[in-house]
Structures are given as structure tokens and as C-alpha cells.
Symmetry: C2
Subunit: 200 residues, 2 copies
DNA sequence: CAATTATAAGTAAATGTTTATTTATTTATA
DNA sequence: TATAAATAAATAAACATTTACTTATAATTG
């Protein structure tokens, strides 16, 4: 029996992410993708049930899982608040900076009903990738180090400026100077943390 | 000559925003929109050149302009940092909370190449709606009240958690309790501001 | 001041194109 | 040589946009 060509599988995934990043999800068509990946349209259907299946698997397995793993790499719940938070920020910045198309799909997952649904289902099935962060913040709040707020609010205060700064980073790649550097990111992390601390 | 039916024009715009908010931009079709607005497809083309023109005009005139006006309502550059920032937060929260479909399109404008392009062009043409906020923050930084950082970074630190909290607000409309209240928003505003202040 | 007319607004149905998906066939290798 | 992988080409549905026509009313006329 003829074996799978794994390079073709990878080409389909990579080109799908590229097209979405450069032209948006509404401009990804199966025939355009097939041409870009140098593959027959039928080949995509050997690997995925349909377009929806492709998009969901692309999002979950190609983007979300490696992203969340990268964010948590070297992070442990028992870290000091400042050390742990900086670790999360640096991990996130480094991963997204080096994976523009992944960042693009993550952003799309906030507005696409399809991906949003997939995300919520995945969260339930996998029992929260981000549970360590949840426990990390809950422990710091209990210890009186940071303000005691619902997790979703803590996460918004602590992490959403970083996502915005990554957007700025990519906007600035088309301009003469890059203002979003690692130093700036660390400085912003300090600022965001200081707002959440209890001891002023 | 037969006069325009302004109700039909409004129905087209309102239903377009509704479809985008509920089904995403990739699921807005001209025939679906025509049916939803109780109008012939041709009628849409009397008012807009094509789908692209519809989306751009919808975004700029129906969403972006009223949104930016609402955010700046009652705000002046010479306000105290805390008062001014709270005003911006409250204006933004109130407007978006009451205009879910506008919020949805604003979120789409971050990922849709079409809308992103429209936004950048509009910013140039209109000479920055947000210039007052720029001058407000620059003045506070110059006066040594807040940290001296590039405007885009200040804006990310100060406003992006709010947008995330609005997302949370809408997520929570489908759950038993609403944790994102005006009080919580004001508390978060204080936290975000405190991180940016120079005098600790 | 009615009746008529010119004209843009509006419609139903059609058109040609693009799209997701399938059919029929070939290819590579265990 | 059996079998899944892969392809080129076809198909049917969905789509943006247009054609050919009807309608409502402001302006004009008798």
C-alpha cells in the first residue's frame, strides 16, 4: 500500500495558516489551498472530512496546543508571582513573535463562531490547559500578594495588554522602527503586575 | 421620482451587523442579507457598489464613527488623569454593552484584512479621531504623572484590558451570573491606572 | 387642481462565476 | 498484487451581481 506523504500533510497545514494570516479566513478556499500546497483538492479531503473539520483541527492541534504548551514551558504554579508572570509573558511573546500565522488564527478564534465553539468544547474536553495559571493566580490572591478578583478578570488585566502589544509588534514590522522589543515587553509586564499587587 | 425608503436602508445595515455578530463575517451573503432585511438583492446594490463597499461603509459610518464619538463624549484633554481615564472607560463600556453587534464588527476589524485596510485609511483621512486621547496621555507623561512611554504602548496598557472585559461581559450573558458590572469595570480601571502612575 | 409624465427606487428572476465536494482513474509501495 | 494515497476533471450548490421589468411619487402640464 502506498504510504502517506507527510510533507504534503504539513504543506496543507502550513499554507492554510499562511493564507489565513495574509488574506483572512474568509479568503481561504479549498482550491486555493490545494494550489498553494501543490496538491489536488481531493487530497485535502483524504486528510479532513470537510472544510470545517480542517479549520477546527488546524486551530486545535496545529496552533492552540503548541501555543499553550509554549506559554507554560518552564512555568510552575509555585513560582514567585513576579517570576512566574514574567515567564508567562516572555514565553507568550517569544512564541507569537516567531509564529505570526499562529497568532493570526488565535485572533480569528475570537471572532469566528466556528473556532470559538471549537475552543469552548476543547476547553471542556481537555480540562483546561490553563489550569496551572488559574491555580497560580488563585494561590497568590489567597496569600494576599495580589488583589482577590475572579480568575477571568485577573487574566484580562494581566495578559490582554500583552496580546495587544504583539499586534503592535507585527504592525511595526512594516514600519522603519520596531518599538516593541523584549525590554519594552518586560517593562510593560512590570507595570501590569504592579497594578494587581496589594502592597503599595 | 420615487423617494428612498430610509427604513429599508436602515434594515440592511442593522441586519448586516446582526448576521455578522451572530454568524461571523464569512457567513454574510448578499442573498441572506436581502432576505433578512426583507429586500431584493438588487436594492442593496442601489445603495452600495458591491459587498466590499457595503462592509467598509458599514464599518466606518455605522460603527466606527459613532463608537469613537461615544468614547469621547464629555471627555476633554485637560481632565485630571484619573477622571479622564475613568470617563473613557465608562463611555466605552456603556457604548459596547449596548451595541453588541458594533462590538462584534470592531473585533472583526482586527482580523479582516479588508476592514483593517479601511481602518488605516480612515485614520489618515479623518486625521485621527483619537488625537485627544493621544494629547491627553502625552501631557500627563510630560507632567510626570504617568510613565513616559510611546502612545501605542500606553494605549495598550490602559485600554486593552477593557476590551477583553467587554468580551467577558458578553460571554457571561449566556451564563447564570454576570460578573462584569460597572463597579467591577471601575475597579479594574483603577488597577490599570495605578500601574501606569509614576508616584508609588 | 386633477391628470400625466419622467425618473429613481424597488423587485423577481436570471446569469455567470466561484466554491465545496465527488467521481473515476492512476500511482507508489508494503 | 492488493490497497490506500494521490490526482485531474467533473458536479452540484451557493454566491455576487445583473437584466428586464414594475412601482411610487415629485414635478409638470392641461
Amino acid at each position: 500500500m502506498r504510504p502517506k506523504n507527510l510533507e504534503k500533510e504539513q504543506a496543507i497545514r502550513t499554507m492554510a495558516l499562511d493564507i489565513i494570516a495574509n488574506e483572512g479566513m474568509e479568503n481561504l478556499t479549498m482550491q486555493k489551498l490545494a494550489k498553494a500546497a501543490n496538491v489536488s483538492p481531493r487530497t485535502i479531503y483524504i486528510k479532513y472530512d470537510d472544510k470545517e473539520d480542517l479549520l477546527i483541527k488546524l486551530f486545535i492541534y496545529e496552533v492552540l496546543a503548541p501555543y499553550e504548551a509554549a506559554v507554560l514551558d518552564g512555568f510552575t504554579e509555585d513560582m514567585d508571582f513576579s517570576i512566574g508572570t514574567k515567564k508567562l509573558w516572555m514565553n507568550t511573546f517569544t512564541y507569537l513573535k516567531n509564529n505570526r500565522s499562529h497568532f493570526a488564527l488565535l485572533q480569528h478564534s475570537k471572532t469566528s463562531p466556528l473556532l470559538h465553539k471549537a475552543y469552548q468544547q476543547e476547553n471542556i474536553v481537555q480540562g483546561q490547559y490553563f489550569a496551572p495559571i488559574h491555580r497560580f493566580l488563585t494561590a497568590k490572591a489567597k496569600a494576599g500578594i495580589i488583589k482577590d478578583l475572579p480568575f477571568d478578570i485577573q487574566r484580562a488585566l494581566l495578559m490582554s495588554p500583552l496580546i495587544d502589544l504583539v499586534s503592535e509588534y507585527f504592525d511595526h514590522t512594516t514600519r522603519p522602527v520596531q518599538i516593541i522589543t523584549e525590554d519594552v515587553i518586560m517593562q510593560c509586564c512590570e507595570i501590569v503586575m504592579s497594578g494587581l499587587l496589594t502592597n503599595k
